[in-house]
Symmetry: C2
Subunit: 256 residues, 2 copies
């Protein structure tokens, strides 16, 4: 099963990077070749795996904008079956530099096309916007996973994100599917979490993952050690949740 | 004391909108004429004050891009001394449409220039990016307030934000000052909050506000009722924190 999944939501701080880093690492510990692509100039996914973005000369920016061979930017990580394509702040320039390029939304798709045989899963972390970096990710992807924080503002932007997905499906990537809606930072002590989660489930029904990611401080601490949760604290709730999400994804893969 | 303060940080979900909505409303209940400007296409500040962005025909977009008189887009709110310049999703277009305009970073500054006599404080909510909407806000502002969530990833992007502020000071707005660093979502039960807060205080010293905003579910619930915290739950910790921040800002104003 070969699949490229983009993790996208223009709302900030909803758990895109935490999901990209931990889902890719939980899949890879099952000895499945996995690639994490950091398409955010903030480079949080890069540093979440212990790599310092400021020290990098070859990132996704050089591959997209300077035609550098993509194999030259693939980094190993502490997990044997997990590789990373890092980013750094130079990627900010791409949002503007791509504007006047002919096939500006398709750059990432062509860059990744040579890698589809090497990796079973490619996970793409998107920035908090619906600009050209996210459009490139949605155009390259087979499906999109939408993390939603269990907070009120998180519901507000959904219709715009779904519109953007429809436009990408219509003009750029007709095969793009919605992998699912992932509830994140669920706090069982708060009514707010339950209200938002009930609302999301009644609207999206079966497209919501069974797995819900609970608020768990270990998920917030792991990045400061440059480790995914499966290496930082394998017995935490956070790790349990992301392992269960990985299983759901792997099982979804079997159906199609 | 007339002051325009931009609330900016490209990291998503750190409390920019929550701070913009609640600081502006806490200042205005002291019967000080205050204007909140929503420069985020997500329009969370607009809906946080109970206005539906989808129903609006006149927003900051029409003023910036279609030269509509700014007085035509000023909305009243439930608080007499608080007015709002709303936004909605059309503002997404401005990020790209502004690219080829001569004085593209200065559009908001000229739009707001006629209002400086009418309002003592103008607070601008920025989107989670350092694109043209945030650059316009930093160019229009007298000072910038930087909310920092007490989480590890929040520290990562600071150097890039400070570089951008320096560039704006050098080329676009020499008078731009840093109003201060605001610690948000502090959870006294977590070591992580304390670690991040200690690190920020040791790096930024006196530029960190004495007021720290604690994690308080009432701040997360208030937007679903379209009310700022001072109307939703005036006795909550969240309201106490933002009232104390408003006092600090008003006192800072006296010094200069
Ligand atoms: N389930 C969780 N429990 C506790 N903390 C979490 C959880 N998920 C994410 N966090 C923390 O919340 C913050 C926001 O998460 P993250 O950075 O993954 O969101 P994002 O959507 O990628 O943000 P951005 O929009 O800036 O890219 C981070 O500091 C992260 O460590
Ligand atoms: N002190 C707090 N306590 C509890 N919840 C909070 C607090 N501050 C903000 N929140 C909630 O956290 C989420 C993120 O906050 P907010 O939307 O204000 O951040 P933002 O920086 O404006 O995000 P964006 O980058 O998307 O613009 C919101 O759902 C908000 O209600
Ligand atoms: Mg992220
Ligand atoms: Mg906001």
């Amino acid at each position: 099963m070969r699949k490229i999944i983009a993790i996208a939501n223009q709302k900030g701080g909803v758990g895109k990077t935490t999901t990209a880093v931990n889902l890719s690492s939980c899949i890879s510990v099952a000895e499945i070749n996995t690639l994490l692509v950091d398409m955010d100039p903030q480079a949080n996914a890069t540093s979440g795996l212990g790599i310092d973005p400021r020290k990098l000369e070859k990132t996704i920016y050089e591959s997209l904008m300077e035609n550098l061979d993509i194999n030259e930017i693939i980094h190993t990580t502490e997990i044997p079956f997990l590789k990373l394509i890092p980013s750094n702040i130079r990627l900010v320039g791409a949002e503007v530099e791509l504007v006047n390029i002919e096939s500006r939304e398709k750059m990432l798709r062509s860059a990744l096309s040579s890698l589809k045989d090497e990796f079973e899963y490619i996970i793409i972390d998107c920035p908090p916007s619906l600009g050209l970096l996210t459009l490139n990710s949605l155009t390259a992807a087979d499906s999109v996973m939408i993390p939603i924080q269990c907070e009120y503002y998180a519901l507000e932007g959904l219709s715009h994100l779904l519109n953007t997905i429809r436009l990408v499906q219509k003009h750029l990537n007709p095969n793009l599917k919605v992998e699912g809606i992932l509830l994140t930072m669920y706090d069982r002590r708060l009514n707010l979490s339950k209200q938002v989660s009930d609302e999301v489930k009644s609207y999206f029904q079966s497209r919501v993952f069974d797995t819900c990611i609970h608020r768990n401080v270990r998920l917030g601490e792991a990045p400061s050690h440059g480790k995914p949760i499966v290496l930082f604290d394998a017995v935490s709730i956070g790790c349990e949740n992301y392992m269960s999400l990985a299983k759901e994804i792997l099982n979804n893969g079997k159906e199609t």
